[in-house]
Symmetry: D2
Subunit: 419 residues, 4 copies
């Protein structure tokens, strides 16, 4: 993860941004108990406390330790506990044992945050530009963990037979069912994609480069819960011909028959969310589906998933700060569309593109450089951000990536087709 | 688990005993955070919160629900959450998912305990004798869980790289090394073993019956840490001929090279305990060894483990309330012997006897009857209680049992030999 | 495995016995293809070729290599391939990879047998008595492997969807259903059990010692297929209260609902055997049931399994050479009883006794001494031999042992009860 | 797998081709015993007998059964045994249980081949063109299985501690070490790739389409064993920064430290091959490396893997029938380069391209249509054919694919770099 180009930073503005990002993390855990924040519900997830500490370790290590003379580590044991996967930073605690660490407590981790925040804000006025860029990087890194924190805690609460709600359900205004999918014709030929300019972006978003688009159309909205229920009712999960071979093996091995967190209830479906178990809203975008499910749905619907270049070309004209993104702590979830085509927010949209380097991509040197390139096998690209993505974090060139069976993020489906 | 015979109960005395037992559980968790009390560190262990709630569920279900007219369940969701393995009591939460339940919180579980305690104490004066026997049974049941709670929480803290101490270390008085093992000749011929009389005992302790003892001697004390270190130094963990085949496979698969919680430190050994990591005391009884290790040690030492009949015959003359047993919450651990032969407390002593029914054993009817008989395969009997066993809980006829690879309890070794 | 006492050997008789035993092994594989003899169908089983080679390795190693001057190994690679578990004999091929060895071929292994047989018969006249005892031991060892060879090859053929028959089905004479179980009252008090005298026995069969029997009765025959079908029809596999906890977990995890090799066919049951798939004979003893199943059946029937001492005391008066035992290669299976009480042959009978050492048992020194003692944890004793046990191999004191979930041997059930 | 366009077939020529292909399969197994041909050495591999039967089943099912009136199945049990993964063709034997089928024997399978061959050749004159296309497809399908058969049997023999050679080693002519890698500059801009024209190709090779190439160069030969040994000597397998995260996890979990079948021997390396264990030839192309290893090597070498479009554009001018490809049964292996740049034969070359559909790709209808599309997740494309690929089978547009950890095929590495 590499700040991509030269640009000026106002330390005050960056300090303000830093405080806001750090404040949102604290708000997200305000309703969590010490235990809520400590448990690891599966190997893919991390405890909320770990997210809080790891993002702090990032600032402490790459900014304070490396660039603030005389800084003393808040606690010498924390680097071992809170490094994630930076091999260059030495030994670290096993990922799947993160849920065993009851001490330090949530309060102690919040104290760690406070100490690092104070030290960083005190130092920020004296830091050179390349270190300010590291702070900006750390803010973006923390936003990624904010989304993971929300989806991990949702996963944890879903394991509890009592199914507690973290937040009360928001009042819902009835919304008409969305119109049938409309198709937006994509421009064929050379398109420029990838990040350019001096604004922040992760290293994997560049270099900006020409991509060749073939004649195609892309849907003007994502697939809804109602449409997904029709797929299920039509035997979508029972018919191997819709599925990739690995997908079908996954369906059979895991007994998958609906999106994650769905349960049959009488004739209909409920879902578990941050506000507990509620009826599925047929007008809202389907979410918590894997790439395998997305691909099978597309096959069933006689369509396909868009490539990431098609998606980016279509999304480029839209405002990445608009849409159902994360602003404040609360029971976020995808919401029915109420306007024209939108490409940002609600659900991460699976593309048909494997997550691989762009032409000319170079891994950055050093520990920070481990960030993105090393994950470029076996995963698929998702685009557009979700209801759990902090507003301002996502952009048209943003590349998220997960394994094709994973579905605890707010993942959804937009169709495309050849013309 | 079956109260074994008729006997009179004074409700007041029983209420007093009930309050004491319940109070000790509360004391044991007084230093635990909500998170400490919630985590499950392995499938064999349970969260402290679960122990607190499950023992309460036992009283609520078998006493209040079944025998107190008009009693309303404290929370209708709890039977599903806190039943352990009583098949007759219906569906229950998967054992290996107990660590996912962050809500109810520790405080809410303590509230559950308080409510049930109040209801039970209020009702106790009106309950018939057979229900009073269930309360006595529940007290004994809770004492078993107190020991598990301590060993489970020790196991959890041992998973934390920070290795927190739960209690400060007690001041230690230097003690001379124990004299070499002396051999107590056992009486050969018919011995009566098993529980008799009207005092409480678990069903598996009876019927009392004749057992045939062959000429043998039994050690006058358990094996010490110092002796165990000599076994290690002599290659005890590297030499297959000392080991049962299953034991050797376990040693190799798990990479076992010392008792659980031991670490090499320079020339010596440290161990993790309820007071954190400390030097191993060579004079104290070795603990946290499996049956496989106990058996291998005995083979190395040219001896064998005692049978449970030999042990019980030898222990019958000793006071089961004497010795290093659990009185109050604190950093219990086995302590060096300072007197004559003692058979109770410090460490559970592995016997060479498989846990099987006594002649004439009958499983009790109904849900409570599931208690002991169903575990009678694959496990070995341990005798004598440990430093984590509540004083008053153990007796000469008491049969504890674990699988031969398990060693997170305070388990140790007493040798025997043929004459 | 230790010849137990002094006795005279006539080398000629022993050579004759050796040839007979070796000849039966060859006969058992006469219908097997090279492939049949090479595959390992599960970790518990071994290829037929391996049985043939391993038993030969035993004679070559402990007799020819150790006691015949100038003997050269037939093939220097074979000790690595064909040692089973004798740690003292050095490195060996992983047990669960035995099925990967297509070369040497079956013909080459038969050549190995021929060479070792010739060398041993040529040398036998000059060998001292203790080496003759090793030959006797090797013959008994080979008989054990003959039984395993038959049950392993049955297991292999059962994995083949084509379900080939190894031998044609024998002609069956209709037999009346056996009378209801009759109960033989056992003598209470001291009984002498275990091997005595100078005849061959395995080390675990001794020392002969006094055992204390409690008042009991033992069934005059084993449980039949018809009785077992009634257990199934009564929901025996669906009702946890009949089962040990480990047994119930096994039933659920493995989806067990009938003896191994049984399949529902219309209203009835078929079984797979050495003569292919055939109708289950309701009059014949049930077989291919695990200890868990045997114990659950006994609980359902209001009875229990006999202890090994009860069994041995009852069997002592019967002829161990009588009954349905293995004489020649062919489609052996348990057969309906046609006479009075019989304790030998048809099926190995699960006892309720864990496989543990007798009082005074000592493991022999050296590699041969690894034989039995090291398996003394986690297994249960079976008695009486089966239709696949070579006649002459079994006796009243004979202790077979398997893990409680294993059932690919010809294992069955005899009931007992307290009086 | 879809014949791609109209074209004329001469039945006689096709019959001749059919006979040649079928004959090569028979030649490949001529030195195998029944057991060699029966074992399955890992889940990814299949027994030789299965390859022989499955390819026969393909012709029997899609040609004889579907298109030859009055044809009777050779054996009604074979469709269940020998279907591979065609869901539309109904139930089939579990893939990982293929090694349990000792009957039918190798001879019986060869008889099955003979019968189907005769029936097909007899019928071929009367078959319409679309069925002739299915025969051509079946020939290509069988060629794929010929390569798998060779690599699977190599894997099986490698499991045998005796390490038998299948064929004697060919005489080797000393060859000078290859010159350092030269770089061929690739044309940037639009290139047409994918299959076009009426010749046979698999469905995944089309449609032919424009691809955009960025400035790059591609190596003029593949990486050699000598270069790989330098990578190892430089700590290539010990340094996480060279590796993808999934690759590093694989290296650690599997203890990988060299290509498959390599062993250290003194200062150097040996490898196991179809001619047994021999010294590694430093001049020959490295093989039996995974994508993870190929990618790590490229990172270590400061280069990258080519994309499949770059590879195809570079290879298009070369003769796909030239190079070290499979002509006759024997101990094939990659050989040192002796001429100019070659893109076909020796080793399959890992590309950096995930195996995904080309623009406009459509899955064919029906069982035959299951062939390629369903594998399009999680795998990487390999190009160019290997020493085990039948000559005439591969072409510039040919897309092979494996998971990134797999390496039992003859897989190797060609480097590329950005310009």
């Amino acid at each position: 993860m590499q700040p991509r180009r030269d640009r000026a930073f106002a330390p005050d503005e960056l300090a303000q941004r830093f405080r806001e990002v750090r404040g949102l993390s604290a708000a997200l855990v305000a309703r969590l108990s010490d235990a809520d924040a400590t448990i690891q519900s599966m190997d893919d997830a991390s405890p909320a406390k770990w997210h809080l500490a790891h993002t702090t370790w990032f600032f402490e290590t790459f900014v304070l330790r490396d660039h603030v003379p005389g800084y003393t580590l808040h606690d010498a044991r924390f680097p071992f506990l809170y490094n994630s996967y930076y091999e260059a930073e030495g030994a670290r605690h096993a990922r799947n044992r993160r849920g065993m660490i009851t001490r330090p407590t949530l309060d102690e981790v919040l104290g760690y945050r406070h100490a690092v925040d104070s030290a960083l804000v005190a130092a920020i006025g004296d830091l050179p530009k390349d270190v300010l860029e590291l702070i900006e990087l750390g803010c973006n890194h923390e936003q990624q963990h904010q989304e993971l924190l929300l989806t991990d805690i949702l996963h944890l609460f879903a394991q509890n037979p009592v199914e507690p709600a973290i937040w009360p359900a928001p009042r819902k205004v009835p919304v008409p069912m969305p119109a049938p999918i409309g198709w937006i014709e994509g421009a064929a030929g050379i398109a420029e994609i990838g990040h350019a300019g001096s604004d922040f972006a992760f290293d994997c978003e560049g270099p900006r480069h020409a991509a060749l688009l073939h004649p195609h159309a892309i849907a003007d909205r994502t697939v809804t819960n109602g449409e997904w229920a029709a797929f299920i009712a039509d035997g979508g999960y029972l018919e191997p011909r819709h599925w990739l071979a690995d997908g079908w093996a996954w369906v059979r091995a895991e007994g998958v028959e609906a999106p994650l967190y769905w349960q049959r209830e009488g004739e209909g479906w409920t879902r578990f969310g941050l506000d507990g178990r509620r009826a599925v809203d047929p007008a809202a975008p389907v979410t918590h589906v894997s790439f395998f499910e997305a691909d099978a749905y597309a096959a069933w619907a006689g369509a396909r998933l868009p490539t990431e270049a098609e998606w980016e070309a279509a999304a480029a004209a839209h405002d990445p700060q608009g849409g159902n993104l994360l602003d404040t702590a609360g029971p976020v979830e995808p919401r029915p569309s109420t306007g024209g085509p939108a490409f940002f927010g609600d659900v991460w949209e699976w593309t048909g593109s494997a997550y691989r380097p762009y032409p000319g991509f170079q891994t950055a040197e050093g520990a920070v450089g481990e960030y993105n390139g090393k994950f470029m096998s076996g995963q698929f690209v998702l685009r557009g951000g979700s209801c759990a993505t902090p507003r301002g974090h996502v952009r048209a060139s943003y590349r998220n990536f997960f394994y094709p069976h994973q579905r605890w993020q707010f993942t959804g489906v937009r169709l495309a087709k050849d013309l």
